[in-house]
């Protein structure tokens, strides 16, 4: 019985794979850490503080033949913020910034992908941070896709956008040079 079911699923999978217009589903490779959600905030106008969110999950679907159908949803564990400085990370988790006890998750859910060639494009979507949801646009560039050496199939993208802290109700004022956060995403997915 189980064998039959597996065979049926495999057959269905083959048919799906053979149909080019259907977008393929990918799981973001967080297990292998071939993906990262990074951020950068200007320090006093003199340099940059760089950090990342160590924990997040997400899926996307993408097909080179039909890029406008691409979709992605990413959920970020705000507690996992890591700027390589425990005291600062504690401060970022506090009420002054992300208030992670109350808002343990940040989320991005795409609404549309404007791209003619599937290589570069503008990814529109809703970003939720600190309980505030806003429409943002992420500039996306496809890095590449193809078979990996271990029998899987991968596709990867990078994206960047800038958000303003005040828009999301972050009360701490770091000065005029540091009002925004540059977000940078490196997303590699393994085809499901």
């Amino acid at each position: 019985m189980k064998k039959h079911l597996t065979a049926a699923i495999l057959t269905a999978g083959l048919f799906t794979a053979a149909t080019p217009v259907l977008a393929a589903d990918y799981a973001i490779d967080t297990r292998g850490a071939h993906a990262s959600v990074n951020f950068k905030v200007n320090h006093l106008g003199y340099s940059w503080v760089v950090g990342r969110f160590d924990t997040f999950t997400g899926d996307f679907s993408y097909d080179q033949a039909d890029p406008s159908a691409a979709k992605i949803a990413v959920t970020i564990d705000t507690k996992s913020v890591n700027s390589n400085h425990a005291e600062r990370d504690k401060h970022i988790r506090s009420k002054d910034f992300l208030e992670v006890d109350k808002y343990p998750e940040a989320k991005f859910v795409s609404t549309k992908f404007d791209s003619t060639d599937g290589q570069t494009g503008k990814l529109h979507g809703q970003f939720t941070l600190r309980g505030v949801t806003k429409d943002i646009v992420i500039d996306v560039t496809k890095v590449g896709e193809g078979k990996d050496p271990w029998g899987g199939y991968r596709a990867g993208f990078e994206g960047a956008t800038t958000i303003t802290m005040k828009d999301y109700g972050i009360p701490m004022d770091l000065g005029p040079q540091s009002a925004t956060v540059e977000l940078e995403f490196h997303i590699e997915g393994i085809k499901k």
Partner: protein, 188 residues
């Protein structure tokens, strides 16, 4: 004069007691104030540096205070003290010491959670001994905050008890912590 006797406290114990009291209340006020400083305040870097430096000095003082307590005669309780007063005082004093140590250690664990050393007034570094525990700075931070408030409440109770002995019972409890005992043990 310097050492304790069975009749009362010596100068060293008395000075340490009041230094610790001053340090505890100052560090509490400094800590309470510094966490809400604006990023462009002149004190944004200095206040935490002073808090950590004085905190580590207090730790050293407390270690010496324990040693001093162990190598000195123990002053007897006053004869007019009730048995229950002695028991409560003993528990209270133990709690003050224990809370203060856990408070200082938790503060140390916040700043050293990522393996960074703590600089004491820029003179020397106290290295991180325990770092990288899961959520170390968050858990240590919660403990530090709760214990800071608890210690202030308990210290206030300690002070009120001393005032009660001084003004209501009119005994020598508070005076013993103000005037060093004379080396001649016959005086009361």
């Amino acid at each position: 004069m310097l050492k304790n006797s069975t009749q009362g406290y010596g100068l060293v114990s008395i000075v340490m007691h009041w230094l610790v009291a001053l340090a505890v209340f100052s560090l509490f006020a400094l800590g309470y104030w510094m966490v809400d400083l604006g990023y462009y305040s002149d004190w944004y870097q200095t206040a935490p540096m002073l808090h950590k430096s004085f905190g580590l000095c207090l730790f050293a003082l407390m270690v010496f205070r324990i040693i001093w307590r162990l190598i000195n005669p123990k002053p007897h309780g006053l004869s007019n003290h009730q048995a229950w007063e002695k028991t409560v005082a003993k528990l209270g004093h133990f709690a003050l010491y224990a809370m203060l140590f856990v408070l200082m250690i938790s503060g140390y664990l916040i700043s050293t959670a990522d393996g960074r050393a703590i600089s004491v007034f820029g003179w020397f570094d106290v290295p991180a001994l325990l770092s990288g525990l899961p959520q170390q700075e968050e858990i240590a931070g919660d403990i530090h905050e709760i214990l800071a408030w608890s210690l202030i409440v308990l210290s206030a109770g300690h002070a009120l008890a001393a005032l009660k002995h001084h003004f209501i019972d009119k005994d020598a409890t508070l005076n013993r912590m103000l005037k060093p005992v004379n080396s001649t043990p016959t005086r009361k």
